[in-house]
Symmetry: C2
Subunit: 763 residues, 2 copies
């Protein structure tokens, strides 16, 4: 490992003090003189025409300053991508229970809430469809009958509720299945997931005298919010400033426009600042969660355990709108394995439920549950050790990944080896106890990234980026800059930012900050350092190559006492030819850098109740290099805990008739608590990436992928039952123990045939 001065050492977060003392300011903490409070009226119908909205009583209530409905917004549909399928507030039709129908700005929250109760809406019910498999059937009620007329609608396929199709193919998969010694099929279902961020959606808006809007937002993607808000308000993007506040968790849910448009329009109407803070119930019913996903998976294997073919069909529930990009799980239908022939499909189906949102590499955890359970099933059926079976098929340097990229060097096998060594696999455990593994893969996120670093007169440096801090990413970025410039992390000021100040930057999500934004910071810091070296060379009368930069000074390699501090150089720069020293960098896409994580669970299953107790959880990830080991460990632990919640307890329940959310609170939606968890064992291996900053790879997403399959596999190891549906609840395990759940769900049902027929794959 390189001889680092700052990296690979743990540093407390640069924002630790503000956070622990409560001084950090969140969007809900914005108080402006004369600020109004906004409340939202939500639809009570699943799918209905709005006959009338009577706001007169609400408007007349003392303290109410404005009431808006969908008709007050420009008649412009927007979307999360090319397809524009959604008004920001219902117009003519409501598509789900919870959809915003009106909003009020009043002098206080209680009055606003009272006014909401005074708005009278007359509806005419239209047919609703709640189950995505039903929605796919021909003849099902259409959620968006006019879908084909929407801007950005790109394809026509039988079954009007399909709004997105992703596909990936290689080789001759049907021929390979015919030639394979064994073919295995399984279908897995995962549950609806709420992102579980602690800070509810919140925002404040203020229209300035010049007509510009300032938005204080709880967002991972200020530039995305700016663009979408400009679109729905039909105003120039440059008339909007987004100030991203401290973020109390997002996990994908805060990547895009939420409800910022409501206080924005209300501020424009009233001339006053307006604030909106969701209740927890609204977080569950108005914001886009992840909906249940059905993954059908089929694998052709030869007798020696070599996988030669894979087919995977994903059907994911979009809810009323495609609120987040298409399910990214499909590309992960191969898992971490090299499979020469494959057909991968992902269908998104509209239903009359709250629109789908993003959550931690949306869809990949569902697919990893399917693939890694399926791999375990196959291994057992072939009589192979599950770990050996995986090792036989892992993708290797030089192979071509599903995305078409050559696979660069990586630590996949080391992660499996580390898990094996730590647990002493294979191992026999007493009856009722079991161990299971899962192998997870992801890629280091990339996308537009910029950074600017200016050197202050005292040798410290100010770092400006457009990315929002999540999970201590500011601290990691500061570490990278400090390492390059040979100063301490405390000497880096991480500047607060807004969309006026910092150049366009991709959102904080998808494990992209350290890899891509960090690379931009590295490049900007190198630019600043090179300028410092050039100035020092000039002042010291030596060639630039003769100089080094460490300990806050530039020194002569051959005579280290000779040199100048960065403070001296920065002070000199302001009166030198160069001017103040500023380093800059801008980049877009970095090459593919995969991330692999091997994970293992040990469980104890109570045969009488079906209750699963997680007794041990071990993960090992190839992090490339640990920018800030404490932060990396935190990311790995946090992700695993989210995955454990997904595996065992979290479950968003929807009414099967109306699509309404049935458990919209943390009392009934069960996230794991510290008491539910064993000590988490977190291992890292380090095979530096070729392009990341100092070799770093993405960290955040993979830890959450493994727990469902690892625990399901451990349950099978413990008590011999296979659970193919999440969460792996005591009820399900007990039902399986009692023989009430079939272990051989070979296909989704008629829906799969129907999809294949539409593709012309079957007659």
């Amino acid at each position: 490992m390189a001889d680092f001065q700052v990296l690979e050492q743990s540093h407390p977060r640069v924002d630790a003090w503000e956070k622990v003392t409560g001084q950090a300011n969140y969007a809900g903490d914005v108080y402006l003189p004369g600020m109004l409070m906004c409340k939202i009226l939500a639809s009570t119908r699943s799918h209905a025409r709005i006959i009338s909205i009577d706001t007169s009583k609400a408007t007349a209530l003392p303290g109410v300053r404005a009431v808006i409905t969908g008709y007050d917004f420009p008649q412009i549909r927007f979307g999360s991508g090319a397809l524009k399928d959604r008004y920001i507030m219902a117009r003519d039709i409501v598509y789900y229970i919870g959809e915003p129908v009106a909003a009020v700005a009043a002098e206080d929250e209680i009055t606003a809430q009272e006014a909401i109760g005074l708005i009278e809406v007359e509806y005419e019910d239209l047919g609703a469809v709640v189950d995505p498999l039903t929605a796919l059937r021909s003849g099902a009620p259409s959620v968006h009958p006019d879908l084909e007329s929407y801007e950005g609608y790109g394809f026509t396929i039988e079954g009007g509720n399909i709004c997105t199709l992703l596909d990936a193919d290689r080789g001759d998969v049907d021929q390979a299945f015919m030639e394979a010694d064994h073919v295995f099929e399984d279908t897995f279902r995962s549950q609806g997931i709420n992102q579980g961020f602690l800070e509810p959606m919140a925002c404040a808006a203020n229209v300035e005298a010049n007509g510009r809007l300032t938005i204080w937002a709880s967002t991972q993607g200020p530039y995305q919010v700016r663009a979408q808000l400009a679109s729905v308000l039909d105003m120039p993007l440059s008339n909007i400033k987004i100030i991203p506040m401290e973020l109390g968790g997002g996990f994908g849910a805060k990547l895009r426009l939420a409800f910022e448009a409501f206080p924005a329009l209300l501020s424009m109407r009233t001339g006053s600042p307006v604030k909106l803070i969701n209740t927890r119930e609204e977080v569950f019913t108005l914001n886009g969660p992840r909906h249940p996903v059905t993954n059908y998976i089929k694998t052709g294997v030869n007798n020696d355990g070599t996988i030669i073919a894979r087919e995977a069909y994903t059907i994911f529930d979009v809810g009323a709108y495609l609120g987040a990009g298409p399910n990214s799980g499909i590309g992960h239908g191969l898992g971490a394995y090299n499979i020469p022939n494959f057909r991968l499909r992902s269908y998104g189906a509209y239903t009359n439920k709250v629109y789908v949102g993003s959550y931690r590499a949306s869809g990949v955890a569902d697919m990893t549950f399917a693939v890694e359970s399926h791999m375990d099933i196959i291994a057992h059926k072939l009589g192979m050790d599950p770990l050996d079976f995986r090792l036989k098929n892992t993708i290797k340097e030089g192979d071509i990944a599903v995305n078409g990229s050559r696979v660069p060097g990586n630590g996949l096998e080391q992660t499996l080896a580390a898990i094996k060594e730590r647990l002493g696999l294979p191992k026999e455990l007493p009856d009722g106890h079991g161990v299971g593994i899962a192998l997870c893969e992801w890629r280091s996120g990339t996308g537009p990234s910029t950074a600017s670093i200016s050197v202050n007169e005292d040798g410290t440096a100010s770092l400006l980026t457009g990315s929002v801090d999540i999970s201590g990413s500011d601290t990691s970025l500061a570490s990278i800059a400090a390492e390059v410039m040979g100063i301490s992390i405390g000497d880096i000021i991480v500047a607060s930012r807004d969309t006026d100040l910092a150049p366009f930057t991709g959102p904080s999500g998808g494990s992209r900050i350290v890899y891509s934004q960090g690379k931009a910071v590295q490049m900007a810091a190198e630019d600043a350092r090179d300028k410092l070296l050039a100035l020092a060379a000039d002042r010291l009368g030596v060639p630039q190559e003769a100089l080094g930069c460490a300990g806050g000074r530039v020194y002569v390699h051959d005579n280290p006492p000779q040199g100048l501090t960065l403070g001296q150089l920065a002070s000199a720069s302001v009166n030198s030819r160069t001017g103040p020293i500023v380093g800059n960098a801008s980049l877009s896409t970095l090459p593919y850098a995969p991330v692999f994580s091997a994970q293992a669970a040990e469980v104890e299953v109570d045969r009488a109740t079906g209750q699963v107790k997680l007794t041990r959880y071990v993960q090992c990830q190839d992090v490339g290099v640990a920018i800030n080991p404490m932060a990396v460990e935190g990311q790995l632990e946090g992700g695993a805990v989210q995955g454990i919640g997904r595996a065992l307890t979290e479950d968003m329940l929807f009414d099967q008739e109306t699509g309404a959310v049935r458990n919209p609170s943390f009392a009934s939606y069960l996230m794991p608590l510290a008491l539910d968890l064993p000590e988490l064992e977190t291992l890292m291996v380090r095979v530096p990436s070729e392009d990341g900053p100092f070799g770093a790879r993405a960290v955040a997403e993979p830890p959450g992928f493994g727990p469902p399959a690892a625990i399901a596999n451990a349950i099978y190891d413990a008590v011999g039952v296979r659970i193919r549906e999440l969460p792996l609840s005591g009820e399900r395990v007990l039902a399986a123990l009692q023989g009430k759940i079939s272990e051989d769900v070979a296909y989704i049902g008629d829906e799969l045939d129907e999809l294949k027929r539409a593709e012309g794959l079957v007659a």
Copy 2:
């Protein structure tokens, strides 16, 4: 003139709406939860030892949260330059009436003020000196007896109250005086001037949980405040963030640290935010004004009117501390003329009065009054037309300026010609009416400047600079960026800034923004434009040279309909090799670019009362190019009005015994009102500078230099009396008309001899 799309056209200010609607936020508008108010206890003694300070009663007053004295600050002297002569709050000794001795933070302003009254200070008087000429005499009481021990004290000269000496010499001036056909001597005195900004000094401070200080300041120089504050609080510069708020006038008074340290320390003591807003009286008594200046000037002229020698001695009153850099007037002792032999000296003398501050090219207006009155006197004595006498001696392209720079091409002679034509000079006016002219020179200000411009997805651009807006400078910077990028001024977002965000930038003063900061903006915009062109060349498959940039798009010169909008390019950039498009620039010193202004006044003098009525005022300035003509005209008018106030009415009065300010209010310190002014006639000539943005030159300072001399010369023309002391009040004119003022003040007095003896120039 170049074919501009944006420049040379008048644009309303980008901040016009906020300003006219009162939405603009000044430092006094900062309200934070739990904010305390700060008041200052001022010294009541001119020069005294502090025997004791009893703060117990003040501390005990309910609502008082903290009381601080000078002993609560680190024992560190600071200064405006190298010489550190001042504690931020009195420690052991007070040096003037008004000096801060203690400060209080209380829950409201009234309580804070009451607490101030409860602080008991016991003093022991030391000898005070108030008059600077007296202070220069050997044997005068010493203001700073330990001056030589202060950090940065750089020279020793007899007379302990001298704290600064500037000198400039060329040729053999004594020989030239001996050879000259005529030698003329005059002494001029100008008055104390308050900068007259409307917004009193104000600031707010808040200590964050991490120990960082945020300061909301009314300042022209946020980076200067940051550095000085770090020094007096003995804390790392990087622990301080200065947020410059809207500036309600500064004119030099807000270039440096004012009272930010008091709320800062009080916030550190209490953990609460603290705000301070000066009263108008405090603005007069606690802030550094300009003190009276005495200029002795001697000129050797040949019979044909050619000036061959110049000697000038300036004695300027520093007050208790050198609160602003040495008087910059000395370099202007030659005026706009080419004089082969010269000796120029400027002495700063400590007195027991409020410390000196900066005001609009400090000292140059005083010196211009002296030089241009003196030129008029000589012309009349030689029987030459004053304008012709000036023209004979003007400095010309290729001459060497007093600063050693070669004089580049400029519009000096055109400005005189324009004035001559506009007024029809020479002209005869009726008795009691007169016309006078003055020729003014300054240089385009320079210094560290940076800019960053990022292009948004809709083709607009965000501009980040570290300079504070004064007089519409943001609008000018936006104009420059828009011109380069071929977009409209409304498409430029001028981002709010703070010292964390923007790289080090020189202060907003000295006519440096458009020339230097504007150049940095031009360079950054060119950088961004070049990146847009490169991307467009790539996408369009044509060489970059074949492309132009105008009307918000990049187009093919030979086929203008072919092209891409900046929005399309910016959107493409985020996913291209380049990454988001950001242009950057950093520069320090630009070459010397002089600015010349010819001015003329017509007056009517009432022989019975001495009252002078200004009936006409014409100025013509070489602006190079008018970035925003409306703003340039505003600068020229505003400067002239300040000069007219200096000429006729403004006069800070100091008690000759105690040094106390005797007229600390706008009721007794008389700034000109609209009713006092004639319509101002403002002409511009345009000789582009070699290095400024699009040829622009500085604008702000010269208009204020001319009025005292032009009006004094007009009074002489009207009634034949010469007033050598400002203001040119009715009392003085009447006294001169009554023969009570000598017209032949040939020397300062013994003081000049003493100074020359110390220099070894006389025996």
